[in-house]
């Protein structure tokens, strides 16, 4: 993945750069809005990480300018402003996701991968069947099968599995799940999501030799692709 990080805080920037480089990404960095906008318009990136408050051109203006010039590179906004209205403003400006500082690097990486995946698959017609290994979800008939065996899921479990399948092979965090499945944007309490996951796990993994749904310690979960 080729990623542009536009962030004026040197520590945060190097934290992101190092982490992304370790994860095998190719990272460019701009420490102000003007340079960032120049790089974003002249080079091709898989995703942008944009701090909201930047010297020169501020983050939201930068995103609006990009979108106005038909640049659709997915943008992850970083901000110290974490309230719902701030998030809404960021997404309205053309951001694709919003992450509040301070954040765990794993959360950032998970969200970036999700963004990249979303844009890559977005070009085709929406799939009616989602697959991961021998697990299969038919979105039209609302059916789930593993190895041909029907699995009975509650509506919320179905949504949860659908979200995991759409991000198969990636790490999804608890916050991403609360946002994506329940549509609430606060930090989930202690282990609420975990219990839902373990319940889902018992339905899709029990009795099968190879577990599909893994817990990534301190980060979230991953459904094997």
């Amino acid at each position: 993945m080729r990623i542009l990080v536009i962030e004026d805080d040197r520590d945060v920037a190097s934290f992101i750069r190092n982490g992304l480089a370790q994860a095998g990404c190719n990272v460019d960095h701009a420490d102000n809005g003007k340079d960032g906008l120049f790089l974003a318009t002249t080079e091709a990136y898989d995703a942008l990480v944009v701090d909201r408050m930047l010297p020169g051109v501020d983050g939201l203006t930068l995103i609006r300018t990009l979108r106005a010039s038909k640049n659709t590179t997915p943008v992850l906004i970083l901000s110290a402003l974490g309230e719902v209205d701030d998030r809404v403003k960021g997404l309205k400006a053309g951001g694709d996701d919003y992450l509040v500082k301070p954040f765990a690097f794993s959360e950032l990486l998970a969200r970036l991968e999700a963004l990249e995946r979303r844009t890559k698959s977005g070009s085709d017609a929406p799939p009616t069947v989602l697959r991961a290994a021998d697990l299969e979800m038919d979105l039209l008939r609302r059916e789930v099968r593993r190895n041909g065996e029907a699995i009975d899921l509650q509506p919320r479990e179905f949504q949860l599995l659908e979200f995991l399948l759409r991000h198969a092979g990636q790490v999804v965090t608890r916050t991403m799940l609360l946002e994506g499945v329940w549509d609430y944007h606060f930090d989930p309490q202690t282990n609420v999501i975990d219990v839902h996951i373990s319940r889902l796990r018992s339905k899709i993994d029990r009795g099968f030799e190879r577990p599909l749904l893994h817990t990534v310690r301190g980060v979230g979960y991953r459904l094997d692709g």
């Binding site: 974490g82 209205d85 202690t190 839902h196």
Partner: protein, 473 residues
């Protein structure tokens, strides 16, 4: 210095105006009294003189000059009290008849003249007289003794001066007193204010109990000070708590990191634990910031009409799995939509916090009942568990930030959950109450419901009320 400040007070300036107005009114009053008493006497005297002159003129017309002289002589003789003055004089002023020996100078016909008639032996009499021309070369003066009138007038003048002086003295004294009194009361307030500025926030403006506007002002200032003091104490409490609650984890983290730094090969698990501890501190900070932000009212602009039923169902559903796992029965009793004006995220998070507590503290095999109901114009969310409950004495305290009861110390948490619920409820103009669920705790959030007069809801409201017979605080 004192006088100058006094002159600058608006109260004194007003007093001076008041004194001036008072003086003018008193003068007008005196004039009116003068006109209707002394003036009356004076007019009567004048009339008497006029009548007499007319009578004498008649005599002259009938009997000529000598006849008039006789009549005058006769009247002088008959006037025992010597109250009347007559003089008939020729063209050069020589007296022809009457009891006046000379014609007073500067006397013009047709005007009243007051003069003093010497009575001989040093005594004299004030006289008012009128003079007319009665024929060729003849002038007639008729006058009356006005000694009494003069005396009364003198008395009146003296009384007026005394009265006016007294009135003015009283008015000025009253005004000065008023000015000083107002100044003193303001000075009391100013003194209190200065003491507070100097750092003594426990000072309060003195009240007199008179209920006047000064007392009202002092009362309001005191109420404001109480509020400020409460807020300051709240802040200090938060500051102390932040220091206490964050110093612990930060100290542990520091110790752990020091140990790790000394080790040759730090274990990955140890490092991850460090990250978790930092996360805990960050979570606490975020929760604090969120409460502060909610309390500041910043969310109000995003308030919209929303259905509580949806939120209650969502959150119940979110916690169903966790409750099942601990073999706690979670009952979600929602019968009808209830619309309120608020923030979906905040209300959901408040309810999440309540359910989180309920699931955390309810023992295995226990029961949690979440009820949403509407009575009249109040939406009521009630979360009742069968856990250990909260002693009545602690119920106010647990709404404060960082309050963790002893039994809660073994559980994860930061003591901010109910504080956020409280802040969210307050922002929705609602009321949060804790009650005994015997056994357990019943937390009730009451916020104003939006009134919709559709028939369905009119029917729905009483139904839910009948259906939910649970005891309420």
């Amino acid at each position: 210095m004192r006088l100058r400040t006094l002159l600058h007070t608006s109260v004194l300036q007003l007093t001076l105006v008041y004194v001036a107005l008072f003086g003018v009114s008193v003068l007008a009053l005196f004039y009116l009294i003068y006109w209707s008493t002394l003036g009356y006497l004076e007019r009567q005297t004048n009339e008497t003189i006029e009548v007499e002159i007319r009578g004498l003129l008649e005599q002259y017309e009938r009997r000529g000059a000598s006849g008039l002289a006789d009549v005058i002589a006769e009247r002088v003789r008959r006037d025992d009290e010597n109250r009347s003055v007559y003089l008939l004089a020729d063209a050069i002023g020589r007296p022809l008849a009457g009891n006046l020996t000379y014609l007073p100078p500067d006397l013009l016909t047709g005007q009243w003249l007051d003069f003093v008639k010497p009575d001989g032996g040093g005594a004299s009499t004030p006289v008012r007289a009128g003079l007319i021309r009665v024929g060729p070369g003849l002038r007639l003066l008729v006058g009356r003794d006005i000694r009494e009138l003069a005396q009364i007038r003198q008395l009146f003048a003296r009384a007026s001066i005394y009265g006016l002086t007294l009135t003015m003295a009283l008015a000025i004294a009253g005004g000065v007193l008023m000015a000083f009194s107002a100044r003193r009361r303001l000075a009391d307030l100013n003194k209190t204010t200065r003491q507070i500025i100097a750092g003594d926030l426990s000072r309060r403006a003195p009240l007199r109990g008179s209920g006047d506007e000064h007392d009202e002002l002092a009362g309001n200032i005191n109420a404001m000070l109480d509020q400020i003091q409460r807020l300051l104490e709240g802040m200090r409490h938060v500051g102390d708590s932040v220091a206490h609650d964050l110093r612990g984890p930060l100290t542990r983290l520091r110790n752990r990191l020091e140990t790790l730094a000394a080790a040759d090969q730090p274990r990955r698990e140890d490092l991850l634990e460090c990250v978790e501890q930092v996360q805990h501190v960050l979570d606490t900070f975020n929760a604090l910031l969120r409460i502060a932000r909610v309390e500041s009212g910043a969310h109000r602009s995003a308030f919209a009409a929303l259905d509580l039923e949806r939120i209650v169902r969502d959150v119940c559903e979110l916690y169903q799995a966790a409750a099942d796992e601990r073999q706690i029965e979670l009952v979600c009793s929602v019968r009808a939509p209830v619309e309120v004006f608020g923030d979906r995220e905040l209300l959901a998070q408040a309810l999440t916090n309540l359910l989180d507590n309920a699931v955390k503290y309810t023992p295995t095999g226990g029961r949690i009942v979440v009820t949403l109901e509407r009575t009249e114009d109040v939406a009521r969310i009630r979360v009742a568990d069968s856990g250990p409950g909260v002693p009545a004495a602690d119920r106010d305290r647990v709404l404060q930030r960082f309050t963790r009861l002893d039994q809660a110390r073994s559980q994860p948490g930061n003591g901010l959950g109910l504080a956020l619920v409280n802040a969210v409820t307050t922002q929705h103009h609602g009321r949060l109450s804790l009650a005994d669920n015997s056994p357990g705790l019943a937390v009730t959030i009451e916020i104003p419901a939006l009134v919709r007069s559709t028939p369905q809801r009119v029917l729905a409201a009483p139904l839910t009320r009948v259906a939910s017979g649970a005891p309420r605080p």
